[in-house]
């Protein structure tokens, strides 16, 4: 089970915060296939946000194939998010790269900027997702 934390000042649409936090929980293995998401009632009772916002977030997760709504039962995780596990070769390569960056004298912010720039180049941000409304 996950618990959502809504930051009303973040500027990120509330439904997107729920989508992002669910994905994060999937990546971290806090949610696994078969797990049930909290009901809309449970989420709004704890966060005081509008029920339609929760339903919108769940619809979006469903559209992406991550969860499925089972009538009368709730919303369940369909599949996890494939991430490289801690011992994968990709992670090892990134560690080597980070070591080299440090040796070359780069600071944390320099590394973050470099990484983000490459990330943006290879994984362009989906326009539909970045332009969330204020729900």
């Amino acid at each position: 089970m996950v618990e959502y934390r809504i930051d009303r000042r973040s500027g990120v649409a509330t439904y997107l915060q729920i989508v992002q936090q669910t994905k994060q929980a999937l990546r971290l293995g806090l949610l696994e296939p078969g797990d049930k998401l909290p009901t809309a009632r449970e989420v709004v009772a704890a966060t005081a946000i509008n029920p339609n916002t929760v339903l919108k977030a769940y619809r979006e997760l469903e559209r992406e194939g991550l969860v499925e709504a089972r009538r009368g039962l709730g919303t369940f995780v369909r599949k996890g998010l494939s991430t490289a596990p801690a011992d994968s070769p990709l992670r090892a390569e990134l560690e080597t790269w980070a070591d080299r960056a440090r040796t070359a004298g780069l600071e944390r912010d320099d590394v973050a900027a470099l990484f983000t720039s490459v990330l943006d180049q290879h994984f362009p941000y989906d326009q539909n997702h970045s332009k969330g409304d204020q729900a």
Binding site: A40, R41, E42, A45, A46, A48, N50, P51, A135
Partner: protein, 296 residues
């Protein structure tokens, strides 16, 4: 069940012996069922009058209001209304008050819901209402209103005397009821920040008229905050504009793409409401719920 919670057509109300004091005039709007609607506006704008008209406690002096597809009087059993002062019997205990709710609403009373609202506030059932704090009284009043299992819940300044924790808890209780039963909730408030995120529909009243009405998302999308060099904003509708030196800041309703010179941003609900409150002469805007129309 009807898909319209409240429909007002040319609705108005005057007070006083010669009907000179006009509290509300020519209000036309439609609130779809299942929404959580914020009624905002300055003091004396007509918020309480509007809620009392919908509750059937006042009769209109002009126009009509339809509630849940019928007259406010005929809909009374399906409507709960909590007045600003939360009137309760001071000598009754909390438990007595809930028993009264059960006796007054024999066919509809949901003792479990009413009991839960009271229990969540750690209230002693044997405490007399007169010994309760303002926040505790609000909780008892909301327990009575929710125990009736209304289709439409009208709340006049429900959060006014609550501390931040109690506000959050009670708003959570209201949202949970809306999620579970599809209750339409209409609440008035001056504190816009506490409504943002909870309300999906807005009714802004000012000077006795409806200034903005519609789904919050659509109203926000219809407005843009622009900054740029001082100049003419035509053909866009200007709600509010300020010039500082060579720079102009404005809230507009764009009538087409904005020029390259302008930096555009999305307003927050608070910015939208404040801009309209500062500019009483800005034209009114009513948006209908397209999703609802499409489904119908």
């Amino acid at each position: 069940m009807t898909d319209t919670a409240i429909e007002a057509a040319g609705l108005g109300r005057t007070f006083g012996r010669r009907r000179r004091a006009r509290a509300l005039h020519a209000c036309t709007f439609r609130l779809p069922a299942g929404r959580v609607c914020a009624v905002v506006g300055p003091n004396g704008a007509g918020k309480s009058t509007l809620l009392a008209l919908a509750a059937g406690l006042l009769r209109p002096t002009e126009g009509t209001v339809t509630v849940l597809g019928t007259t406010p009087a005929a809909a009374r059993e399906r409507v709960a209304y909590v007045a600003q002062g939360k009137p309760l019997h001071p000598q009754l205990t909390v438990a007595d008050t809930l028993r009264m709710g059960r006796d007054l609403n024999p066919r509809r009373w949901d003792a479990a819901t009413a009991g839960r609202v009271v229990a969540d506030g750690d209230l002693d059932p044997d405490a007399k209402v007169r010994t309760l704090s303002g926040g505790q009284r609000t909780r008892v009043a909301l327990a009575l209103a929710l125990g009736k299992r209304p289709e439409l819940l009208l709340l006049d300044e429900p959060m006014a005397d609550l501390d931040p924790l109690a506000r959050h808890q009670l708003m959570g209780t209201l949202m949970a009821d809306a999620a579970e039963h599809g209750t339409t909730i209409v609440m008035s408030s001056h504190v816009i920040a506490e409504l943002e995120g909870s309300c999906d529909h807005l009714l802004l009243v000012g000077g006795g008229r409806v200034r903005l009405a519609g789904p919050v998302d659509d109203l926000l999308a219809a407005h843009t905050l622009v900054t740029g060099p001082a100049g003419d904003l035509a053909p866009h509708t200007v709600v509010e504009s300020r010039t500082t030196g060579r720079q102009l800041t404005a809230l507009v309703r764009p009538a087409g793409p904005l020029g390259e010179d302008w930096q555009a941003g999305d307003p927050t609900l608070e910015e939208l409401v404040l801009a309209h409150l500062r500019s009483p002469d800005a034209p009114a805007l009513t948006l209908t719920d397209e999703r609802q129309e499409a489904a119908a």
